[in-house]
């Protein structure tokens, strides 16, 4: 004998949809990180090329999708007066995380517009830096997911963000020292430094958001 399952009440139905949208938004952060990693890899191998431009255009597409999602989520949180006690924190978190997606995209645009000439001896340093930056953002995504579902583990993920950010800083400093110790023109050294600092800045932003997230999580603990 089977029983008809009653329709989910609209309140719970709406909640489920919004949960899905927040998850999708965080998925996009991960996706942009992967695109960023692949694009830098290709640039270091081949320099400016069609494959790189294609990845940049994909990153732009997902960035636009992230913006639309974020606005829709924010709008629903306000219109449906959801989580009144934590709404401000959630909105701030989403905007700050969105800012990281923008930074990924802006970095790729910089490569596309300025086409920096990176000598092969520095490729390894750029790759390592990118890797640590992506790890830090990935840990931030995990921390953000934990904030929504499992507040007690936010701290663990935040610690990882801080670790990867300091690793990124260490690699960035080491790479800059190596560049400034080389025989390149000062203008090229400054140009490369500019790119390194901007890539490292993504990890710095992740650290800032993680710090705020740790506070939001304390407020959330019931």
């Amino acid at each position: 004998m089977s029983f008809a399952i009653s329709k989910t009440p609209s309140l719970f139905g709406r909640t489920k949809e919004l949960e899905g949208q927040i998850d999708e938004f965080l998925d996009i952060v991960t996706q942009t990180g992967l695109l960023f990693n692949r694009a830098i890899d290709i640039y270091l191998d081949k320099g400016p090329c069609e494959d790189f431009e294609e990845l940049l255009s994909k990153a732009s597409e997902v960035e636009t999708r992230a913006d639309t999602l974020r606005r829709d989520i924010e709008n629903k949180l306000y219109v449906q007066t959801l989580i009144p006690d934590l709404r401000g924190d959630v909105l701030m978190l989403l905007e700050n995380v969105d800012n990281i997606i923008n930074r990924y995209e802006a970095n790729l645009f910089r490569f596309s517009i300025q086409s920096p000439d990176i000598p092969a001896e520095f490729n390894q340093g750029f790759r390592k830096l990118t890797e640590q930056v992506i790890h830090s953002v990935e840990s931030l995504v995990s921390a953000s997911r934990a904030f929504f579902r499992d507040t007690n583990s936010v701290r663990d993920h935040v610690r990882k963000v801080l670790f990867f950010e300091s690793e990124a800083d260490r690699i960035s400093t080491k790479l800059q020292r190596k560049i400034f110790a080389s025989n390149l023109d000062l203008s090229r050294k400054r140009h490369l430094q500019y790119f390194i600092e901007n890539i490292d800045e993504v990890a710095n932003s992740a650290e800032d958001v993680a710090d705020e997230l740790a506070i939001y999580a304390i407020k959330r603990i019931i």
Binding site: L11, T15, E19, I83, P84, D85, L86, R149
Partner: protein, 349 residues
């Protein structure tokens, strides 16, 4: 019904209105103030359940008030309710915490003194002990309840939005429980003094439901409470919500449930019978203060969190209220009865 009867009942209905305006905020204040629940939803749920609680379970506390002093003339009941209402008004005006329950008990004692009826010291002691027990019990219920809920929620790892949706739903259910308990426990304050002098007669609805004269009075009083909820409680709810912002919605739910349990325990004839059948000591059915139950629960949660900043002045003011409110109401009732008897030539006992 004679117009004079309606006028006499007016003081009770006014008391009901002010109870609805103020005490509905104890049930739905945090939920509405923090915008977790819409005011219209809260007002409808609150009114329906106050009426149900009053009509179905209002008799227990009324009997206790009747034992304290059976006011047997309508003008005297009018004056008792008016004295209670005036006391509530005066105390509120001076920003002193006041309970309708304490005011009406004072007014009944005022009538006892005026009419020369003896005040049953045993009943009075029972009522006084209950008043002290009410906030204590609310605190004692709130602490383990909060710990249990916290443990469950930690284990469940609900999404923040899912928790929000469940909390809203739970706040409405707890509010309904609270409103039922409020109606059951506090209807005696509103129309209890009119029961011995009730102008209504019993009748049977559709041949099976006996609608007693007391229940008709309770319905009338509950409607006055509902009108108070709809017309004036929104403002109070918003104030309560803003004053208690430090409470998370889950903690607010715990406070409402603890309050509801306490009010229900002190109003339920069914529970009394159950305890009595099991050979356990029964809980007295006494109208208690809804506001003090809420304060008790909040203080309990505050102590549990180890906060040293409990506002002892607030607790002190409540204790002062236990003494001043009945005294003030008794004095007003005594003077009022004197005026009714000697100036207006009305029979008051």
């Amino acid at each position: 019904m004679e117009l004079s009867v309606l006028i006499f009942l007016g003081s009770g209905l006014f008391l009901g209105w002010s109870l609805g305006a103020n005490d509905a905020a104890n049930v739905f204040g945090t939920a509405v103030g923090t915008r977790m629940v819409k005011f219209s939803t809260a007002a409808i749920v609150c009114s329906v359940f106050v009426i149900l609680g009053a009509v179905i379970s209002g008799a227990g506390t009324t009997e206790t008030l009747g034992k304290l002093g059976a006011i047997n003339k309508l003008p005297a009941a009018f004056m008792a309710a008016l004295a209670a209402a005036m006391t509530v008004y005066l105390m509120t005006k001076r920003s002193l915490p006041v309970s309708t329950s304490q005011a009406i008990v004072g007014a009944i004692i005022g009538w006892n003194l005026f009419s020369g009826s003896p005040t049953d010291a045993q009943v009075l002691t029972k009522i006084a002990i209950t008043w002290v027990a009410c906030p204590l019990l609310a605190g004692l219920i709130a602490v383990p309840l909060f710990m249990l809920v916290r443990r469950i929620l930690r284990a469940a790892n609900l999404h923040i939005l899912r928790l929000d949706a469940y909390t809203r739903f739970a706040l409405i259910i707890a509010g309904a429980m609270g409103a039922y308990s409020l109606g059951a426990n506090n209807i005696a304050n509103v129309v209890g003094v009119f029961v011995p002098a009730s102008p209504f007669t019993d009748f049977t609805v559709l041949g099976w439901f006996n609608f007693s004269s007391a229940q008709q009075l309770f319905l009338l009083g509950a409607l006055a409470i509902a009108i108070g909820v709809f017309t004036y409680s929104k403002h109070v709810m918003m104030t309560v919500g803003q004053n208690l912002v430090s409470l998370s919605p889950v903690a607010a739910w715990v406070v409402v449930v603890s309050h509801s349990i306490v009010l229900f325990v002190f109003a339920s004839k069914g529970l009394e019978a159950l305890l009595s059948d099991a050979g356990l000591p029964t809980i007295p059915l006494v109208p208690v203060s809804s506001s003090q139950a809420v304060v008790g629960a909040i203080v309990g949660l505050g102590l549990m969190r180890g906060r040293q900043s409990i506002q002892w002045s607030v607790l002190g003011a409540i204790a002062v209220g236990w003494v001043i409110t009945p005294f003030c109401a008794a004095l007003i009732a005594y003077i009022g009865l004197f005026v009714l008897q000697n100036v207006l030539n009305l029979v008051v006992y």
